[in-house]
Symmetry: C2
Subunit: 428 residues, 2 copies
C-alpha cells in the first residue's frame, strides 16, 4: 500500500470515452484511494471545441493545447482518447520520452505504429497501456501479457467488432437480410453512416494485429492482416449454417504453426452452435484463446461504449500510477517482425455452396474436382431438385490455395452452373 | 526489461498440478527468458513420497522437508501445490515473513484464512498470488484486482465447480437423472468417490468467499457463505426449466446492495438459455461480472486440471519474480470484515412447483397465498389434469423470507398436496 500521493492525469481528447473517464475517476476517487493509497485526479483536458459542455467535466480544466499538457511537468500520466494516428503518435512519443506513462485505446495507432511505440516506452522505461484498444470493455490484454506470459498460445479467435456481430445476430435471430440488418444497426446507432470500416473488417483487422503482437511477442501490423468482411453474407447462408448446426460470425483469427509462422486474418466463419463463441450475441465481443497449458479460455464483454472503454482505461491508469510511485514499469521490449504466413498456405475447413445441373454423374464429377486438388469432403447436402438443385459441401481441413484451385476448377465444369458462397468453418 | 537474473523457485507439493508446473516452467524457460530477461528455475521440490516417479521432475530436487525449502535463503519464490490448511498456513506465513512471495491455488486455505495471509503479505511487503485458486485455469483474479480496481462491481455470478457443471450438463443434454449423471462423472474421473464437497456446494462456496473478498475489498470467509447443492435436482426440474427456456446451473453469487451489505451464496439456479452462463457446458467454469462501468463481462475456461492450473501459477510466478527483481509488490492490505446480508433478506425471483387438487377456486387460493406475502407471480403453467395436476410458478423478484413464508403457508392449504422443487431464477 502506497501512501497519500496525488497523481495528476492529463487527458487528451474528451468525447464519449474521455467524458466517461473523467466521470469514473471522479466517482471512484475515494474507493481508489482506499484501495491504493493514491489520490488520482484529472488535472487537464485537451479538446477541439472549448464551448461544448461535457457532463461532469470541470470547464476550467479544458484547453485546446494537447502539446502543453504533454509538456507540463506537473502531469504524471497521459490518457489519450482523442484518436488519430500521426499527430497523436508524435504527442505520445513526446510524453513517453518525458517519462510519462501513456494509456491509450487507439487501435489504429497501435495497429500501424505499435512496435515503434512499444520500443519508445521500453527505451524511456515507462508504461504504455492499452487494455481498451481491443474488445474495449473486456480486460483481456492484461491477462494475455501477464497471466499468460509463460503460456504457449496456439490460436486466438475473436469477435472483435460489435457492429458486425449485431448485424449477424439480427440476421440469425430474426431472419433479416444483410441490408435490412445494417439499416437497423444504423438506426440504433450501432453502425455508422459509412459502415465500411466495420462491415469490411478493417476495424477487426487492426485489433487482430494487436492480438497477434501480444499473443506471439512479435511485431504484427495492420498491413499483415488478410481481411474479408460480411457484406456478401446472405440470409440463405445464415439459414444453411443454422440447418447444419452452425452460426456465422465475423472472426479475427491469429495462429502460429510449428515453424513459427504467424497467420493473422479476419473473415466470416461458420462456428458450431455449441462453441462458446456462438453464444456471443448482439453487440458483445469475445476473445477465445487456445494454449498448451490453459486449453481453452474465453473473455466476453462490451466491445465498445464510453463507460466500458473508460473503465478499462481507469484500470490501466491506476496500474500506471502505482508503477510511477514504485518506480517500475512493464514493457514488451523491442519486438522482432513476425514471419507472416501467406493466406494461400493457411489451413481451414470450408463451406462451399454451388448450383449444379441435375444430371447423372454430376455429383461424381464435382466430387472428383475436390479430390483432384487433395480437398477431402466431410459432408454434402442437396437442396431442391432438377435444375434448381443446390449442393452444399463442408470439407475437411484443406490448404487455402488448394481450395481456391478447386473453386477455379469447379467453375470450369459443365455441370456446375455457379459457385456460390464459400466460407471457412471453425474446427475445434 | 530486466536482465539475466536467475529466480529460484521452491515448490511445495508435487502432485498433478505441481508436476505440470515443473513441466511448464521447463518447457517455457527460454520463452520466459526472452520476454522477461529472467531465468526462472525450479530449485527444490517437497513431496511426501520420495520414491514415486514424477514425469519431468529431476529426482535430485526432491525433499520431504517443506520447512527447509521455506527457510532456504537461496529460494526466491514459494509455489504451494500441497494443499492442506493449518500446517500449510504456517509454512506460507513463514515464507512471507522471510520476504518470499507466495503463489498458491489453495482455495480452502484462502477461504478460511485469506485475510490473515493477505495481511501477512502486506506487512512483509511481498506478493501473495492466487490466480489458480478460483476457476483454476481462468485468468480472472488479476483482471479483477488490477483492470477492475477502479470499477464499482455490483454482482459476480460464477459456475465455479466443474464436477457439478458436468453432472448438470449431462442431465440437460441427455436427460439423465442425477444419480446416473453422478455415477458417469465418477466413472470418468470428474467426480470423486465421495462427491460431497462438489455436489453439496462446499468447493464452490470457498471460491465464492474469495471472489467476494476481491470484488468488494472486504474480508469474506467460507463461513459467511450460504450453501445449497445440486443433489435434489431432478430430471423433471431440468425438463421444466428447458420448457421455460432455462437451464439449471450451480451458481456462486456475490452481490452488494446500496447499503454496502454483501450477499454471498451458492445454490442451483435457473438461468435463461440465452444468458452467456447457459452456454458453459461440461466441466468448464465461468465467472460473470456486472459493474457500473463495464456492464457485463464473462471469463470462461478450465476450472481444474493439472495443466490449466499450473499455467496460471506460472503466470503468477513470473509476475512475482519480476516484482522481486524490481523490489515492488501489490497487496490487498488489511481488509475490514464485510457486513454479510442474511440469506433471509436476499432478493431473487423463484421457480416453485407444487401438486394441487384440481378443484374450483384452487388456483385463486394458491395465488392468494403468494399475494398475502407480497410475492408477485410472473408466470404460471399447469401440467397434467385432475389429481395429477402440477403447477409451476415463476415469481417476480421477492425477498427470501417472504418466499419462505409463502411456502409454509402453501403447505398449510388444503388444495396443495405437496410443495415440490423451489429454485432461484437469475434475472438480468
Amino acid at each position: 500500500m502506497t501512501s497519500g500521493r496525488t497523481i495528476r492525469i492529463g487527458l487528451l481528447g474528451c468525447g464519449t470515452v474521455g467524458t466517461s473517464f473523467v466521470q469514473l475517476i471522479d466517482q471512484q476517487r475515494s474507493a481508489i484511494a482506499a484501495r491504493t493509497g493514491l489520490d488520482i485526479i484529472v488535472a487537464a483536458v485537451s479538446v477541439r471545441d472549448l464551448s461544448r459542455t461535457r457532463d461532469g467535466v470541470d470547464p476550467s480544466l479544458l484547453t485546446t493545447d494537447s502539446a502543453a499538457i504533454v509538456a507540463d511537468p506537473t502531469i504524471d500520466v497521459i490518457v489519450e482518447t482523442m484518436g488519430g494516428v500521426d499527430g497523436t503518435k508524435q504527442l505520445l512519443e513526446t510524453a513517453l520520452a518525458a517519462g510519462k506513462p501513456v494509456i491509450t485505446a487507439n487501435k489504429e495507432l497501435l495497429a500501424h505504429h505499435g512496435p515503434e511505440l512499444f520500443a519508445a516506452a521500453s527505451a524511456a522505461g515507462v508504461d504504455l497501456s492499452f487494455e481498451a484498444s481491443v474488445a474495449a470493455g473486456i480486460p483481456f490484454i492484461r491477462p494475455l501479457r501477464e497471466s499468460l506470459v509463460g503460456e504457449n498460445i496456439t490460436r486466438v479467435m475473436g469477435i472483435l467488432n460489435g457492429t458486425t456481430n449485431y448485424i449477424l445476430s439480427q440476421m440469425t435471430e430474426h431472419g433479416a437480410g444483410y441490408a435490412d440488418a445494417l439499416e437497423e444497426a444504423q438506426r440504433l446507432g450501432f453502425a455508422e453512416a459509412d459502415p465500411t470500416a466495420d462491415v469490411e473488417g478493417f476495424d477487426a483487422g487492426a485489433k487482430a494485429a494487436i492480438i497477434a503482437t501480444l499473443a506471439f511477442g512479435q511485431s504484427v501490423t495492420a498491413g499483415d492482416v488478410h481481411i474479408e468482411g460480411i457484406s456478401t453474407i446472405t440470409a440463405e447462408d445464415i439459414s444453411n449454417a443454422d440447418r447444419m448446426g452452425h452460426v456465422i460470425k465475423l472472426l479475427g483469427v491469429v495462429d502460429r504453426d510449428d515453424t513459427g509462422a504467424i497467420g493473422v486474418r479476419v473473415h466470416p466463419a461458420m462456428v458450431s452452435a455449441d462453441h462458446p463463441l456462438a453464444s456471443v450475441r448482439d453487440s458483445f465481443n469475445a476473445v477465445f484463446v487456445e494454449g498448451d497449458g490453459v486449453d481453452q479460455l474465453m473473455f466476453y464483454g462490451r466491445g465498445a461504449g464510453g463507460h466500458p472503454t473508460a473503465a478499462m482505461m481507469v484500470g490501466d491508469t491506476i496500474d500506471a500510477a502505482l508503477n510511477v510511485v514504485a518506480g517500475v514499469h512493464r514493457d514488451l521490449g523491442a519486438l522482432q517482425p513476425a514471419a507472416i504466413k501467406p493466406m494461400s498456405e493457411v489451413v481451414s475447413a470450408f463451406y462451399v455452396s454451388l448450383d449444379a445441373r441435375d444430371e447423372p454423374g454430376a455429383l461424381a464429377t464435382i466430387a472428383a474436382a475436390f479430390g483432384n486438388r487433395g480437398v477431402s469432403i466431410r459432408s454434402m447436402e442437396q437442396e431442391g431438385l432438377g435444375d434448381q438443385a443446390r449442393l452444399v459441401f463442408i470439407t475437411h481441413e484443406a490448404v487455402e490455395a488448394d481450395l481456391r484451385a478447386t473453386l477455379t476448377d469447379l467453375n470450369g465444369i459443365d455441370v456446375v452452373k455457379n459457385v456460390g458462397q464459400v466460407l471457412r468453418v471453425v474446427c475445434d
